[in-house]
Point group: D3
Chain length 303, copies 6
Amino acid sequence: MFRHTDHLQFDVAPEKPDPVYARKLQELIGGAYGEMTVTMQYLFQGWNCRMKGKYKDLIMDIATEEIGHVEMIATMVARLLEGAPATESTKNASMDPVVAAVMGGMDPQQAIVSGGGPNLADSNGVPWNGRFIVASGNLLADFRANVAAEAQGRVQTARLWHMTDDPGVKAMLKFNLARDTYHQNMWLAAIEELQADGLEGVVAPNDLFDEEYEEHASTLWHLSDGTESDKGRWAHGTAPDGRHENKFLADPQPLGNVQSGPPPDPKLYATYDGGLGEPSNAALGTEKGVMGNIKETLDPNAG
Amino acid sequence: MFRHTDHLQFDVAPEKPDPVYARKLQELIGGAYGEMTVTMQYLFQGWNCRMKGKYKDLIMDIATEEIGHVEMIATMVARLLEGAPATESTKNASMDPVVAAVMGGMDPQQAIVSGGGPNLADSNGVPWNGRFIVASGNLLADFRANVAAEAQGRVQTARLWHMTDDPGVKAMLKFNLARDTYHQNMWLAAIEELQADGLEGVVAPNDLFDEEYEEHASTLWHLSDGTESDKGRWAHGTAPDGRHENKFLADPQPLGNVQSGPPPDPKLYATYDGGLGEPSNAALGTEKGVMGNIKETLDPNAG
Amino acid sequence: MFRHTDHLQFDVAPEKPDPVYARKLQELIGGAYGEMTVTMQYLFQGWNCRMKGKYKDLIMDIATEEIGHVEMIATMVARLLEGAPATESTKNASMDPVVAAVMGGMDPQQAIVSGGGPNLADSNGVPWNGRFIVASGNLLADFRANVAAEAQGRVQTARLWHMTDDPGVKAMLKFNLARDTYHQNMWLAAIEELQADGLEGVVAPNDLFDEEYEEHASTLWHLSDGTESDKGRWAHGTAPDGRHENKFLADPQPLGNVQSGPPPDPKLYATYDGGLGEPSNAALGTEKGVMGNIKETLDPNAG
Amino acid sequence: MFRHTDHLQFDVAPEKPDPVYARKLQELIGGAYGEMTVTMQYLFQGWNCRMKGKYKDLIMDIATEEIGHVEMIATMVARLLEGAPATESTKNASMDPVVAAVMGGMDPQQAIVSGGGPNLADSNGVPWNGRFIVASGNLLADFRANVAAEAQGRVQTARLWHMTDDPGVKAMLKFNLARDTYHQNMWLAAIEELQADGLEGVVAPNDLFDEEYEEHASTLWHLSDGTESDKGRWAHGTAPDGRHENKFLADPQPLGNVQSGPPPDPKLYATYDGGLGEPSNAALGTEKGVMGNIKETLDPNAG
Amino acid sequence: MFRHTDHLQFDVAPEKPDPVYARKLQELIGGAYGEMTVTMQYLFQGWNCRMKGKYKDLIMDIATEEIGHVEMIATMVARLLEGAPATESTKNASMDPVVAAVMGGMDPQQAIVSGGGPNLADSNGVPWNGRFIVASGNLLADFRANVAAEAQGRVQTARLWHMTDDPGVKAMLKFNLARDTYHQNMWLAAIEELQADGLEGVVAPNDLFDEEYEEHASTLWHLSDGTESDKGRWAHGTAPDGRHENKFLADPQPLGNVQSGPPPDPKLYATYDGGLGEPSNAALGTEKGVMGNIKETLDPNAG
Amino acid sequence: MFRHTDHLQFDVAPEKPDPVYARKLQELIGGAYGEMTVTMQYLFQGWNCRMKGKYKDLIMDIATEEIGHVEMIATMVARLLEGAPATESTKNASMDPVVAAVMGGMDPQQAIVSGGGPNLADSNGVPWNGRFIVASGNLLADFRANVAAEAQGRVQTARLWHMTDDPGVKAMLKFNLARDTYHQNMWLAAIEELQADGLEGVVAPNDLFDEEYEEHASTLWHLSDGTESDKGRWAHGTAPDGRHENKFLADPQPLGNVQSGPPPDPKLYATYDGGLGEPSNAALGTEKGVMGNIKETLDPNAG
């Protein structure tokens, strides 16, 4: 269960409205790596965490913080939109080219749909969606996604930091940049801790190493004609997992047969000249198990 | 420019068709972490790479390999669908509960739309889309996303490995698992190399550390009531970047004012009692620059 | 079955083209509360209505009217785009800042994709989709959605009314505003009629009142720290359904246990320390019913 | 800013796992009218509310409650998935038709993607997205959308209540049903209060009544051939707003001209026989305002 | 403006309900090539048609027919769902494997969301969206898209025809198949007529043949290693437009330079070693036109 | 398996950057008819082709070429963005109306998300998705979709050709236009070849002509009031398939009964007055087949 205080985690006070920047800030709300993504990603990871204790507690602390970040940026967007020329007609705007340009650079839905507030969408107005999050239950794989998300988020925030000179906006972004720094360090530390605790290894998931084809677990296939892909440590020496010796496959040849689909079901109307013969039956009908055996016993002519 | 050989990178030969599994394999084609995602993610990263040499060459080698993985799995899906009871009527299927169950577990679009082949969609039939990829140009941030994608991909592949006992399918997955192992190691090595080359640091992007609020770059805000989030190395000791000392904020208080939007433009019809006063004008009209000065000179009465 | 007359329901004659406004009008075509939504929402409600007579006839009258509204606004968009500087080069546009600004404010797809006509998308170019409609079959719930849709639609139309001073555009919007007024009144009247006819009550659906936990059907949980949420009639007095007395829960405590997932299936690779024990089997295998009994009889060793 | 307690708002303890039902419950998480929608809808309405006091406080109380509802149902889904036959092969499942049927009825992504947990998607696996919410700033329009959302939500919950006989699941749904009852009553009361406070009227927005064409604000256009749409109070008597007398237009004729697009820009390649003449220029270039006048003065030959 | 009659264009009377088939039929409602697509595609083409007369009249006739097809199939879906075991619990269903299998094969949203009716979605439950339609204004390009849509539609209908043995459903599909036959013939005839009327040619658009590089307008680049792509009439002889002689390029070499991005803006944090130099300025600032000249005159130091 | 050379298929060298045009070019990358669509459409058609030989080889040649087209345009976008005023603040931009206008016309995600490179999205920033492609296995239906896609693609390219005067951009477009010309001719030739080889006919699929209702396979239903739809060859004479005589149905009457849904399941809460009686059971339980017979034998009282 959650509780809310009306106070923002950090202050949000632009010196002046700026409707063009209000559109850009949408990226930090509803972009693939915006605050909405980390909020929902961490909430679902926390709810899906199968161990009590420090990892679950950490995830829920950060998840709860992130809801407040959506709140901060949503509030900033609304304040940047104050007094925007949203209800000017094109004719009026054409009297002043700067106003006309501002109108062109605004997100029309912030006015028409939200009445001067933020949307749950990115800087091109495309809505946020639930496929942006990852919560696989495997904490190594998920924490890597978290590091990646915080890194993309800080890169975007740094870009946006250069796109304004409003001291109030910059103050909020300084807070966000700092949190993104901490969160990158924090998830990196959490990965170290997972490995130190023996819960996960270097490769996710930490299993099936005997089953996979070992000879394909350490080779770089050279398939583009750039000449320097063998110059990095990925092509020689020991791999980060300490288990494989990297190799470079300079002229790789395909290991498989010629690609082809099977003969088609004629009722599905694939164009077909019969060259591949008749389709087999799917296997399922032939592995009858107990139930199939009953059926066969009772009606030997059935299917 | 690309060239294609008809031979598959690795062999794709199921022992028997299995239409239920053919639906599940869609996740590796068009899921958020399927082969389509890594293909397009690496292609766009490679095309967007701003340095000639080993990094760009590496990315293009792997990107080119991944197109071939889409090819392999798409071919496997088609072969698993051979002879599927796709064109059975419900009435016929109800004669045999196993056939009925198989029909229920199939992806209907593999038959109706693709005629017995794969879709560019995930295991629930939701189409793949371009927001699944990340290619920010910042190689540290992007390689982290790559490690994360390969980790999620190997986790999903390992799960799918348990969901079949067909030796031909398992053989292909053994190859895929091995490649996912190598690709995780490889991107981890590439991150080390980026840092060794002095191109990037630990935190992405490697900048604005003096501008961000340093006191917020190392503290865990304790906002959920679990009691163990201070037990990990994220809450004390030196952070992975070697630059910050982690701290735990046990009872954090909000630093901002009360959340509120600004007074609204009356033409946008927000419900309003006037309590916040009149909206300001957006700042832009008042910072006229050269053009504004001309206008003012010529027509001192203009807005 | 439908028939069409080439005459528009109402006149659509802008005095002058205005390509910037043509983009904004897209919101009324393909926005979440645009004409496309009410068209398809009412058509599916009508087709899904399970009673012959006045309700179904009303819905079909309005649904049929709304197709004509898509037609009107689509036509207006095309006329507003006449002569737009869509095929100007950036270089030419940069000769005149007003033309440059207009180009920036246009929807590029109206030119590149539709050749100077409307898209089936909103004012940010995001396509309309079928999840925007609701047709649950429960007329009380659906008519409330209809009132809501017409209210949002009239709010957006009113906002757009202020964004133009073209008398021809304003004339069409005056018609639309009037229809939105009628349609709000109409659906409100239809809700009254449903209740007067005894088909539905105040709460949808009009059932399960004895099954739901009555003590939770009338309390406001105070979970944010604003101090005035107990000042409205939702916190005291009789509820609109005449059945409940409203109450205010000033310091609500959670009623549930600690949130946690169950122990995971090891083949799905959730990170796990074993602390929650082994997973149970899903229930289904143990409730065999008749078929299970047969199986058990014939093969007592089967799973 | 938000805080979280690990205790759930209400207890979530299924008697037995049921993976088929776990898929259906996804509708209440990520469906268009699931808990995610009301959570984000109320959060954005609250942040966008332009008045301090009881309305904003109410919205934030309920918004904060709803995050906890996502948490409850996400937890229930994970518990229902315990021990699901997710990692059975099709061959094994075909030994027992009930297991085969369960596998067909499961959401494959709950296993492959989430490792035995919920997705942020609906019961067909389609991801939740940000266009499902509405927060226009107009509280009358928004509260109507809230009543509609709670009504759809309670209808869906009631349907799901009939689809299980697990007493633990039914207990949670009894709580949800009760909250949906209260929330419907509550938003209905809030609408009454808005009107009693004189902030809004019956029609949203409460403006432009003199501008809209009054003769079209009270007539039902009879456009489908059902014969009873004039039998309800929407076709006669006073409208709910007390301002209009309803009328029935039995044989309505279109009021507009023949639908047609304008002559096209030849560089956009619409197929065209010239019959409509040459396109006009867009108006913008001719309303030059001050800047245009300068340009004309300095270079009379310019565009 | 449209009018509606309650009578369906053709009869829709399944002999018996069949909820599994009801899910499959969704493909013909909301699939990429379902009736909704052709409805909206033809409506927007008709409204966007820039010539009065036979083409526009034809498009509007067919568009209006197609709305009625959505109506027919939506009605069929509802009738096929009559009495579906939608409100059975999983436990009950597990008593009868056929019922369990049927439940697994049903679309859960048809029950939970639509109350036993159709959704505006495809057979995997993915909502229809506005990007499925094409209405470019170029009638040759659009009529080709129409032929393609009717061909895909008839292929899917034929597949679905084999998936049922209900005589009532088959009767409706016989009507649909016939209409799809006519509509394919019809759009093919319309293309012939466009060319006979001299409005369009063979290649769309019928322009820029002198501007395009003619040597690349007739060659097949052989880039995959199959050996027979030169065996068809696309590789030799005269092209369908009568204007080009087809050629086969057996060993094509790339004509361009090495792929690379330009030097990056440092404020956007692309990883960069400086090897490509400094970025140029965008061209726009330097082509000032009249306005720029004014600025330069008044303030020679301005950027 | 694929291989890549770093050389582009054709040269991509804009004379000058142009960030406004860089946004428009996104349509050719990620639009519904952009290069990404034809790439994936042809790859899936090729992999799904059920005949070895010339058709499959042709498809794979073209598919492989198209990946290189995505590469070309993605590179062009990055080069056009060089030096774009992406990191200017709004305040700075407002000093120069042309810069302000350029900023308004740019795609903000090209800077914020991609760091000065292309997105996998269209010119409105909407991501490309997998439902844009078609690969049904029926080559006639698919090649028609290919002709249509190439026609739309060339129309859009021609429109974009008029929107720039940069000779380097125009050079690349001249190559693209030429390829689109060839590809239209090529797929038209391939359709002729399919028919000449006797693999397909004029109508797709080439089957069920005896089953469909022949009287409905040749009539134009006149449902809109334009008076000239009977003037084309679609309304008289022999159809393109040589099999039907076209007819015009001037006053068509519906052939079906009144539209209505069946009586609803009361547990789904459709509003209902009982007028349609009780719902039937779904058919499935009553057609028991062998399994049902066993059940009945063992437990005559079961369902």
